[in-house]
Symmetry: C2
Subunit: 217 residues, 2 copies
Amino acid sequence: MSQDARKKGEPREAGETRRQILQAAQHLFAAHGYRAVTTRQIAEACGITQPALYKHFGDKQDLYVSMLLGEVAQVKTALERIVQREAPIPERLRLTALYLLNNTRHDIGMMTHDMSTELSQDRQHILEHAFVDGLVQPIAALFEEGMRQGLMRLPGQDSVSPQMAALLFLNIIDLFTAQSFQDMAAEPRRSKTEQARLIVQLSLYGMAQRQERLDPL
Amino acid sequence: MSQDARKKGEPREAGETRRQILQAAQHLFAAHGYRAVTTRQIAEACGITQPALYKHFGDKQDLYVSMLLGEVAQVKTALERIVQREAPIPERLRLTALYLLNNTRHDIGMMTHDMSTELSQDRQHILEHAFVDGLVQPIAALFEEGMRQGLMRLPGQDSVSPQMAALLFLNIIDLFTAQSFQDMAAEPRRSKTEQARLIVQLSLYGMAQRQERLDPL
DNA sequence: CCTACCGATCGGTAGG
DNA sequence: CCTACCGATCGGTAGG
């Protein structure tokens, strides 16, 4: 699996192995979840032995948390750049959805499940904070701006907080990302661009006919 | 853990143990996922030893699948009863959401993840079919009726198939059910009744202000 | 339905 | 970074 030609047992460039481990961990954990991936699988994917992992990370949880923190930091940077653009809110939402459709490898449901069942309390809180700070907040800022402009309903009986709106938005993106759902839904193949547009439509206007008003509940 | 007073090693009433195992499995799997729950934990929760499980189920997968099939069958019955009522579509959607908020213990994300990573292909297909047949189809029928009545947008560039609409609806319910999300969202405590109403509002009308039309995308 | 037990595999450590 | 290895625990079986 390893692509470099160093002799076995010989350390490679400092930091290089660590980077490689994080990348292998990212792929494997994203595909199978925390519990189902073994430290031996990760090591093998990097061309090292399993005990060598512990030269770079304290334990399996540490590796998992480090990997996710790196991912979230990357996404945070990208989202903040999109949010600060000068463009109408729906357009910025569309760009956000498009970025996440193209770059999100972890489904959020699996991530939060692993967080809450496999990690120690301290590590849970670290990840939860990073997740809120890096993913939820930038999007929530967009919804808050929309509410201030009067484009969206204010939180209350008929709508939700900007943070919950962001979670809802992320959740819909997740649904489009998950392959298993697409298969069940008899949906036509759509490009990412079309998907992003549709996600914004559904988030803002729901599924009702535009000219009709259904019975208010 | 066992509540009956039979002597150890003595079989209890036929079918009773099986029912007890399924219930314990349901609680444990719902809380922790397939991989994290051991056959010994399930056995202990029923007051039997681990090898005794294999008198009732072929293996761990068989137990998991049997449990989920039972759950889905129960939900299917309830949803079909709601769908066949004589009431406006939004009202039937609200009752559907309310039922699922009160009775769904498995988050769908976890379930589909376990299905696709821990089960054999045959068993995957069995569960997927039951899930579509028992959960998705009844709700999709409701959305299809709404589309035929012209209350909802037809599938196409601006909307989705009835099946996808049902998945979207289920996904939003899931978001409200998941405790971990509620904590992040700075949301006020809402009763299940209010949550069900809000879920329908968001599904049908989205988050945009009613009187405004944002820039079409 | 129990006791006893198996091979496999897990995360992690010792020592170099 | 490797070899060698540990205790714990897993799903599942044998035999009664």
